[in-house]
Symmetry: C2
Subunit: 541 residues, 2 copies
């Protein structure tokens, strides 16, 4: 059999456009003599529509698109992620109007729809609905009933959806017990560094344990905080990788099920993968929101240099403008580095000095503004000027903050946090350096080598205020990604005084994180929709 893995990049809510994309891929698969074409989870509406699912008419519109896909399935099998709605008037919490507007009275099932020869062969609902990290599927969906297996052109096939592959003793095992030769899993699985390897390892285990061939079809594309990396693949019953589609690109990838020769897994390069993810996250955010230009505040430091270079990679140098906003504190070195960087990556850079505006602000205020308040004022004047340019030019600002500074609140809300998207907000400072070094000389060595500074007071250096970044980042990783407590961190060998300082900064800066733009997720736990910490709380351990 010939299978087409349709690794597509739909746009959330653009149901008509997504339908056109799906129909064109079905036609391509037919022209390539495929027996079966497989699309990712929720391909019809994009992942995730979140509360749009509750807009009256949204699901009906999806169902119309699903009907058009059925009609296009003449002579071919089509598996596509869609929705089934079951209306009822019992159950739920109908006394509460917020529950009613949130869809009570209708059960939605997240389904793999299997069409063939203009018939709906089966609608296979997802059984395991992830509701952790960036997932909130129990908010929207009802779990389906048990596993099933279907016959198609001589093969016994178990179809399941994303998380159903991940759960031990779950649908995959059940379908194999029912006699499935193949498991086809349709996913919308977000990227983090190393996720591809985790997926292949899991698939290999499931395939071996059950003696099945596994076809894994993943979504690709950026959606606010989240980047789907594609990388669809096929695993043999002995656990070997038989086919590996590329990551971070759309495509219709055709595999012959008779092929049995293993292919080596792709080389692992964490920083390269994160870079490709961020580049896709930027370009899809711009494209899907109807923008084509970005502005980056270039300070002469490494964070803004990296963001600008990534933006150039995503959008081309003509689409990126830099703004250098010197104060009286800014050094000649910063100016030189900002301009050298701009030349190096081929972007336009203008100077907008802020001193007079900062002075005028101090004069207008009837009290002395000192210390941190005065430092923040400079950063906010910069934010205001960047936004004026962005509004005037119909451009978006890319926010330059990294995960380390966001974690400890070493940033200015409405200052350097302004922007539409924060591309490196899930990279620790040590990863920022690593990625900058990997950019083939685009980022000048002197920018990489110099000590980081916010340049908001004379002779300020980050590491005068904060622990050394290698220590800070090690603590932050355990704290954020593994939820290590204060006691755990100290027992782990981190100095107690530093742990206390980091925890104190971390907890008291939650209010700034609440107001950030979307932050592109490249780690298992990013700031953004996958992490929900109250602002008001007094837990400090």
């Amino acid at each position: 059999m010939r299978l087409a893995l349709a690794q597509i990049d739909p746009t959330v809510g653009a149901i008509d456009d997504n339908l056109s994309l799906i129909l064109s891929q079905i036609e391509r698969a037919k022209r390539s003599q495929c027996d079966l074409v497989v699309f990712p989870e929720l391909a019809v509406c994009g992942y995730s529509p979140l509360d749009l699912l509750w807009r009256r008419g949204f699901v009906e519109k999806m169902q119309q698109a699903q009907e058009a896909i059925r009609l296009a399935s003449a002579g071919i099998g089509v598996i596509v992620g869609g929705i089934e709605a079951q209306h009822h008037r019992d159950g739920g919490n109908l006394a509460d109007p917020s529950s009613v507007s949130d869809g009570a009275g209708t059960d939605l099932l997240n389904c793999a729809l299997f069409f063939s020869d203009r018939s709906l062969v089966a609608s296979i609902p997802k059984l395991n609905l992830p509701t952790f990290d960036v997932y909130s599927e129990r908010r929207y969906f009802t779990p389906g009933p048990g596993a099933q297996v279907l016959d198609f052109r001589g093969k016994s096939i178990g179809i399941n959806v994303c998380e159903d592959l991940w759960v031990d003793d779950g649908p995959t095992d059940a379908q194999a017990s029912l006699g499935a030769d193949w498991i086809i899993n349709i996913s919308a699985s977000p990227f983090f560094v190393g996720k591809g390897e985790v997926r292949r390892h899991l698939a290999s285990r499931r395939a071996r344990e059950n003696g099945i061939t596994l076809f894994y079809v993943n979504l690709v594309g950026g959606q606010d905080d989240v980047i789907f990396d594609g990388g669809s693949f096929v695993t043999s019953p002995n656990g070997d990788l038989l086919y590996q589609a590329p990551s971070f690109v759309e495509g219709l990838f055709i595999v012959d099920s008779d092929q049995t020769k293993p292919t080596p897994p792709p080389a692992q390069d964490a920083i390269r993968a994160a870079r490709k993810a961020i580049v896709l996250g930027i370009s899809d955010y711009l494209r899907k929101n109807g923008f084509s230009r970005v502005i980056v505040g270039i300070s002469g430091g490494i964070d803004s240099a990296l963001v600008a270079a990534l933006a150039v990679e995503a959008l081309g140098s003509d689409a990126v403008s830099g703004v250098f906003l010197p104060s009286q504190i800014s050094s000649q070195e910063s100016s030189d580095d900002a301009h050298a960087l701009a030349r190096n990556i081929g972007i336009d850079l203008i100077d907008v000095p802020i001193s007079k505006i900062v002075s005028a602000s101090h004069s207008a205020l009837q009290e002395e503004i000192t210390g941190l308040a005065s430092e923040n004022l400079q950063a906010r004047v910069r934010g205001t000027l960047l936004m004026a340019l962005a509004n005037q030019r119909n451009a978006l600002i890319l926010t330059t903050g990294n995960k380390s500074e966001i974690a400890v609140g070493y940033n200015t809300l409405y200052g350097d946090t302004v922007g539409a998207l924060a591309p490196i907000a899930d990279l620790y400072k040590t990863q920022v350096w690593e990625m900058a070094r990997s950019m083939n000389g685009l980022i000048l060595q002197r920018i990489i080598d110099k000590a980081p500074t916010a340049e908001l007071r004379v002779d300020q250096k980050d590491e005068d205020d904060l622990p050394p970044y290698d220590v800070l980042d090690s603590i932050l990783k355990e704290l954020i990604e593994k939820n290590m407590s204060r006691d755990d961190l100290i027992a782990h060998g981190f100095p107690e005084a530093i742990v206390n300082d980091v925890l104190s900064r971390y907890y008291r800066s939650e209010y700034k994180r609440r107001q950030l733009p979307p932050t592109l997720k490249v780690s298992p736990k990013a700031f953004g929709i996958g992490r929900r910490i109250p602002i008001t709380h007094r837990y400090r351990s």
Copy 2:
């Protein structure tokens, strides 16, 4: 029997402080010869700790507090909301590190713990875990097994938790079938206008249908976006209200179960209730986050006047400072009204003119900034100056935006949206007027009467840009709170051109709502944590 309804206001994560509060109420109940003292849902940790539940050590710390409560239950029954943890290593999605850090491997149960005479009589887990609007309990908790009934001092009691009361054919009915005389429901039920009536109506129905006496104990206090209104009550088996505790205040309310004389339900006053909720939301946000002072940008218009007046009600006039930030466009009338308002509510007001800063900003930029970009620039200069004062004085800014303008994006991100808390962001403009009129003359009639203006260009009036507010608000209510589609709205009789304009503004301003501070919820559907719409999407119906 004498029951104490312990309507308390714990702080999320302040487990030691919450324990002290609980122990002191147990002692008070003992001194008052009570048989039983009942605390709200999750009283030990506050509602909701969200992802703090996954911090290593958090649940253990709760369990230590729960053990201390057990020891304090000598001679009295204590029902308190806490957590039970069941560790296991199977199930879950253990291959995914984000699932593991999000608590996989441990089932948490949201429980009513029943202690008496230093024993744990029962731990009754919640069966129905709301995962809509502001609730995300399926993210954290596992539903408990079936209903049970306990005997205590001659009464057969069914204890259940919050949502378990709301579900038809749920635990309440099951416990009644098992012979319960009483149902005791412990809740953390957030306020919206009319919610008290909804609760009493529901309780009356459950009590009548099952022939039981119902004791309803609710949390009180503000927690970021959400305000718990208390208003605990008792309903007789024939559905009459037997006891009604006050709303929006802490207290230990003692009821005698022999009492059978009905009490009339409290008078309904939507605007008065919303006002009390907002006042509690402000004061708890300040107190729990360790702040005592706020700053409000006073424009001379109604929104900022109302926010300032509410802040004075919450914190006292000495804790509130006003700042009037005139531009060249600002009218003398605005200045007069701002100063008259400040005098009327007894707050300090300073003038900080922005013209020179705006001019300096235009000069520094090397291109002409015009139209909306120029209007936004003025608003952002104001935001920057307010933040400088707030940082210098260790005060928080209260954001003055209302629900109507936030819904259509008639505001400036990083301009009038800056602040720590947005107290009236869930009041439509028509409700702002209504509340202002109810403030006993605190808000001058001329402020209430004049046409709203952003004063960012000459002779600007809101209703030159937007539909009339009565029409706009009617559309927005159906759109936001009932999820009416474009077709629904037109079929409902709203003019098509206006519907299209409102929907277009609504959909394209999502990015601004993502970066708002917490917005105090007073409606069934507020902007904030109870509403999750992607920024990137192209659904327009």
